[in-house]
Symmetry: C3
């Protein structure tokens, strides 16, 4: 697996840079950039994990939470700077849908083919359910409903206020899990997933920082190019910007996470798989999205926290579905199939839009 | 009970046929046809159950699932052929509302008058909750939201795609319950409901097939007549087509099921009662509705999977309510009263519409 | 605490009466009236509780349920008489939001600062969840969706029908809890909250009735004045009527309850705190709101059961959030923070509206 990502990176990075210099065709560059970013993202993930082990659980959790979505954040900020507001909103939607339905669905399905029932902590599931409801159902639906009755200016104030509150709650959630209630809910259920082995970091602290810095730099460089291929690619294939954001950018930005979640499910560590699927969605909703809103204050076009109705409905439906499937702390192949079916339905819907 | 249905049938069938020949008044024919179909439906139900016991649980489950809603499917296809699109959509809605709220409510209420608390498998309840969310909340809401933003052609493609996916998931669900996870979740809770006695079929296989074939034939014949009485009856009573579909057709199409669910609740076999109430709704949502969409491709008027907003809201609210009442695997008279109250509210709403 | 309310009352009542006589400025009178009512409400609450203990649990429960929201009901009826329809609807919304989010949130948060985990009966939580869904999600959403498709007259009939059904279900709920299923679900979970100590009433029956009668009389008098200050105050501060109703009236009408819920949470009697927070919301939704609809039949302007979309969405989101946080029968400071964050978000939204 690591070897595969190594090849993607070692071949992708130089080709991407050469290509951008030589002005290769947008479609070729789009594919090339996507592949390279997938490779680099795996390095960022591994570096973050090593750092997290070195620095201990509290700071490690914070690092994981912040850098876990660094690729998405970078692509989104660069797109925002380029004025591609719709693509950014769509990629947030796509990231959430992709993590909940595609990553979750594949994990449950693939894991379920090997094991009849897979279990994970009911407490984690409920904690996450509450946060999904708060971040997606409350914080995303609310400004959408109010914005149609507010002037633009008031919508902006509301978006900024909600974004600040969401980031605070996100930090509270980390504080809750890593400090005040660390281990409080443990052992309550037989979550053999959470046996914390003495983990050995893959890389030393210094090496991890260097890898993280270099790969982040390259991701930023290549994302810059990637963003500019969106429009010509969309035109060539007849895709909407929405579809590019929701399906393509979301898959590219999360490819490394996708792979590791499914691997964990296959190893019967369903707790970690669920944590990646739902946890990533929460990070995007509670951290990436509000940060983008706040960053956009300094950009020419402000990004209000108002998704289009189809985006909003798709996210809310996905949240309701995943909650109804996960609150029992028990998964099987059929639940995976239902999630994947929903992802396909939504993919078709957004393609037709 | 059986004797009562025997009388309905033996008197109803000849009168219905004579009446249609003699062109009796539409209102008389409407009542006559409804009563006859209720009688015949009970025969179809008994024949299917006998066949299911003879063929064993796997094929039996499939038979039950397919023929359980045969009457509704026949009435719906004939209405569709007659171009009564609204009546068909309304009868799907009514069937789902009727099963969840009326059958469920009466079962909980009547059973609850005799027993303080009635229990059923929590696992079944959660499995069904996931499917209700998938089929009604996701698959019905999604095309409605998208259709206002899509051209008719794209809405049709989306409806067909969703219908195919729903039927696949429906088959997967049968496969999951009858094959891969048969008995996996059993004994987990003290569901004394599910003690499988050695069941003896009422009729032999051959006799059951004959009864099934003959009664299906008559149902088809009489439904053909019934469909043509809708318009004149609606005019006479000042009812809307919506009301006829939602209340009348739904009650007629499900009368036999209603009776047996309540009987089971009264015998404290709440697991079976819930299975009938929620299971029937799921069959209508995941099998009858998508089959009608696919069948309508060959008819002059295509039936997209887009319900009216009142229909959609009523279904979604019912699903949310029944899930909130059943996830604890415990029912009582008060929960039944709440379901019945909701049915009455919705009935009044649709009557006024 | 009681001393504090004593001071509020002893100073507030004469000043309020003098002020109304001397025509002091509306803003001063608004503040004065609000403070006085908070003081009087605490006396009404204590009198009701004493009476409830004297009369025994069944009639006591009924008394508590009826007089628990007497202040709100009085303010609302007087506002309705003055034609302030929007303020009344907004105060219902505000009362529900305030109880669920502010009272619930503060209880969970304050209690959670002292105790790592606080528990309450899972059964109560689920019973309440079902009622919240029935009353707010079903009974409030349904007329809103239908009213846009109905003539005014039909909307009125629907509102009246739903109101009658809600009051019936409310009475059934009392009958269920106090008579048929009293204690049935007890001891099932380790709810040490519900240990019924032999309670001693603060006041004798006669004295309680006198206190209740006198304080109710004064509340009515002062509310009459309060209602007429709404318009000038709204103008002076640039607040909308919606904001006054949702935030100000709701806080004033529920101040005494707020205080006692938080006190109970701090004493680790989370069961009672939750009962106040969710129970009060249910009383407002299932009793106060429908009674107002029925009473308004005799007033010049009829009050249909149709909230504005922002009000409706805010209530539904709050219900979904509180259910997702309470169904596990376990609270902590973080869940409190999430509820408070949601209240702040909604407060900002309604302020901007």
């Amino acid at each position: 697996m690591n070897r595969f990502f190594f090849f993607l990176t070692i071949i992708g990075v130089p080709l991407s840079l050469i290509g951008s210099f030589m002005h290769w065709s947008p479609i070729l560059m789009f594919v090339l950039n996507c592949i390279t970013i997938i490779g680099l993202a795996s390095y960022m993930g591994r570096a973050t994990e090593s750092l997290a082990i070195v620095t201990g659980p509290s700071i490690g959790g914070l690092l994981n939470a912040t850098f876990g979505n660094a690729v998405e954040l970078i692509i989104a900020i660069l797109s925002l700077k380029a004025g591609l507001l719709n693509v950014v909103m769509a990629s947030i939607t796509g990231s959430i849908l992709g993590n909940l339905l595609l990553v979750g669905g594949l994990s449950f399905f693939v894991g379920g083919l090997k094991y009849k029932r897979q279990r994970f902590s009911v407490f984690e599931a409920r904690h996450n359910a509450g946060l999904l409801i708060f971040s997606i159902v409350v914080s995303f639906v609310f400004p959408d409903v109010f914005s149609t009755r507010l002037e633009d200016n008031a919508t902006h104030i509301l978006s900024i206020a909600i974004s600040i509150i969401m980031i605070l709650i996100y930090l509270f959630a980390l504080f809750f899990r890593l400090v005040t209630h660390r281990g409080v809910y443990k052992g309550q259920d037989d979550d053999h997933n959470h046996v914390e082995e003495d983990e050995v970091p893959e890389w030393s602290g210094v090496r991890a920082i260097i890898v993280l810095a270099v790969s982040t730099l390259f991701v930023a460089l290549i994302s810059e190019n990637l963003v500019h291929t969106f429009e010509p690619v969309a035109k060539s294939f007849g895709w909407s910007e929405l579809f590019i954001g929701i399906i393509i950018v979301a898959i590219v930005g999360n490819a490394a996470e996708h792979a590791s979640a499914i691997l964990m499910a296959y190893k019967n560590k369903m707790g970690i798989a669920v944590e990646i699927a739902i946890g990533s969605s929460l990070q995007v909703a509670m951290f990436v999205a509000p940060v983008l809103v706040l960053v956009s204050v300094f950009f020419p076009t402000f990004m209000p926290l108002t998704f289009t109705i189809p985006e909003l409905v798709a996210m809310v439906l996905s949240v309701v579905l995943i909650i109804s499937l996960t609150t029992d702390g028990d998964t099987n192949w059929f639940e995976g199939a239902v999630l994947l079916a929903t992802y396909i339905i939504m993919g078709i819907g957004f393609y037709l839009l």
